[in-house]
């Protein structure tokens, strides 16, 4: 199971990477994409809206199932990864890089500290 060290994780299997200027990138983990199977599309109707931590920012539809996507932190949803429109399978193939889902302008960057690090997330998966 691929769990990069430099990211933070939620119990719902989202990851977040803090970029510059209070912007963060959010996606789902390798474990999550494996559980979902063939991803058919990703929707984020919350683009241009402020969404609080723990609230749903969108949905991911796979062939076998559909799942809500949850905000790891509070903030404005700036954009949905445009590549996913035509190639949603990027989430399966490269969940941490090309398969990222949204960019967020964080309203309280300190929320990131409350998330799991790679070590804790791995432990959660194992338990």
């Amino acid at each position: 199971m691929n769990v990069p060290e430099n990211l933070k994780y939620t119990k719902d299997h989202e990851w977040i990477r803090v970029e510059e200027d209070g912007i963060a990138t959010v996606g789902i983990t390798d474990f999550a994409q494996g559980e979902l199977g063939d991803i058919v599309f990703v929707e984020a109707e919350t683009v241009d809206n402020m969404v609080f931590v723990g609230e749903s920012f969108g949905t991911v539809e796979a062939v076998k199932t559909v799942s809500d996507l949850f905000m790891p932190v509070s903030g404005d949803v700036l954009e949905l990864n445009p590549e996913l429109e035509d190639t949603p399978e990027l989430v399966n193939q490269d969940p941490y890089e090309k398969g990222w889902m949204i960019k967020v302008k964080m309203s309280d960057p300190s929320e990131v500290d409350k998330l799991m690090d790679a070590e804790s997330y791995k432990k959660m998966l194992e338990s």
Binding site: G37, D38, V40, F41, E43, T59, E61, V63, K64, V66, E89, N92
Partner: protein
């Protein structure tokens, strides 16, 4: 409950199969991705382990009479070596199961039933056997592979002297295959991609499976799981027992009128009630629909009209990999029978537009 395993369980695991419980069996859902496996079957050739299916022999002087009575289709039209799709009415206008009837010779038939219904069907058919037929449940002794796709013939032809080209659709023969005698080779399948289904004894399965995989290497053969089996059958608009048909749906409602034969010489359970339905028309019917809005219809989602009234429910749904669109089936009332009629799928609170289309979807 004990979960059964087919003889290929270890091999599925070695091949990276993601195993799930299905109908009391541990079966592979997928090996790579459902889409990849789906397209392999549509474009090349794939192998399904369908050993979980049930097989009943029906023999003896009352065999034909029993099968004619418990199934809706007319077996009197069968020639030796011919198979027939049919269903078992339940005496209350519903369906016990759908099945294949193989006609070997007078007084020898094989019934192939859904894994989830083996016990139920066995009890039901026995309870109707006032004809003195001899029944034998060989479900635990017979294994089955489905080799499906446009290259299936080229692959299998390497493994047998049997003239596969001349086995017509829904016919079968028994012969030597992969150096195993008495293998049943049947030009049937539930994918719409063409190909064969192979029945053998459990002890020969590994040998046959390995031979098929090896013979198929040059044709890009790969194992295929239940996920693609479902998306393939749904693209063809084929019913899945437990989803689209069950003890509460009639064959007429389910669009299975074509396997419900009301000939004078075909006397079967529920004949009069089903005939009445056919004459008077039914109040709901299983129809296929294609998504206009983006979304995947899923089993249990409500189907609603323009005004938001519930008019039915999704019985099966998936993403069609050939159409790149969501497709589904569901029971709807009369106003929605016509092709092109607009309706909505209520998906997690959202109304997504869809239209009735004639199946097969591809």
């Amino acid at each position: 409950m004990i979960v059964k395993k087919t003889l290929l369980n270890d091999i599925h695991r070695q091949n990276g199969g993601k195993m799930v419980d299905f109908a009391g069996f541990e079966m592979p859902l997928q090996f790579t991705t459902i889409k990849e496996e789906h397209m392999t079957v549509r474009q090349k050739v794939g192998v399904f382990d369908v050993s979980h299916m049930g097989e009943f022999w029906v023999k003896g002087s009352g065999a034909a009479e029993l099968i004619q009575f418990v199934t809706t289709n007319d077996i009197s039209v069968l020639k030796p070596g011919q198979a027939q799709y049919s269903c078992l009415p339940n005496g209350r206008g519903g369906i016990v199961d759908d099945l294949l009837v193989y006609f070997f010779e007078p007084e020898k038939y094989l019934l192939v039933v859904n894994a989830a219904n083996i016990d139920k069907d066995w009890k039901w058919i026995n309870s109707q056997n006032t004809f003195g037929a001899v029944l034998e449940n060989s479900s635990d002794n017979i294994s089955q592979l489905a080799i499906q796709g446009p290259k299936a013939l080229s692959v299998l032809k390497k493994l047998t002297d049997v003239d596969l080209e001349n086995i017509k659709y829904y016919y079968f023969t028994a012969g030597s295959f992969a150096e195993v005698d008495n293998v049943i080779i049947s030009a049937t399948g539930y994918t719409g991609a063409g190909g064969f289904e192979i029945y053998c004894y459990n002890e020969d399965l590994l040998k046959i499976y390995s031979a098929v995989i090896k013979a198929g290497e040059d044709f890009g053969i790969s194992p295929v799981g239940l996920g693609a089996r479902d998306s393939l059958r749904l693209e063809m608009g084929y019913c899945l027992y437990g989803n689209d048909i069950d003890d509460t749906t009639s064959p007429i409602e389910a669009g299975l009128g074509w396997i419900t034969k009301f000939n004078d010489h075909n006397d079967f359970i529920d004949k009069s009630v089903l005939l009445a339905q056919k004459k008077a028309g039914v109040t709901r019917c299983l129809k296929g629909f294609k998504m206009i809005d983006r979304g995947i219809p899923r089993h249990g989602y409500e189907l609603v009209d323009n005004d938001g009234n519930v008019i039915g429910r999704v019985t099966s749904g998936t993403q069609s990999f050939m159409l790149n669109k969501g497709i589904g089936m569901g029971y709807v009332n009369k106003e929605f029978y016509a092709t092109g009629t607009e309706l909505f799928v209520k998906a997690r609170g959202k109304l997504l537009k869809a239209e009735i289309i004639k199946t097969p979807f591809v």
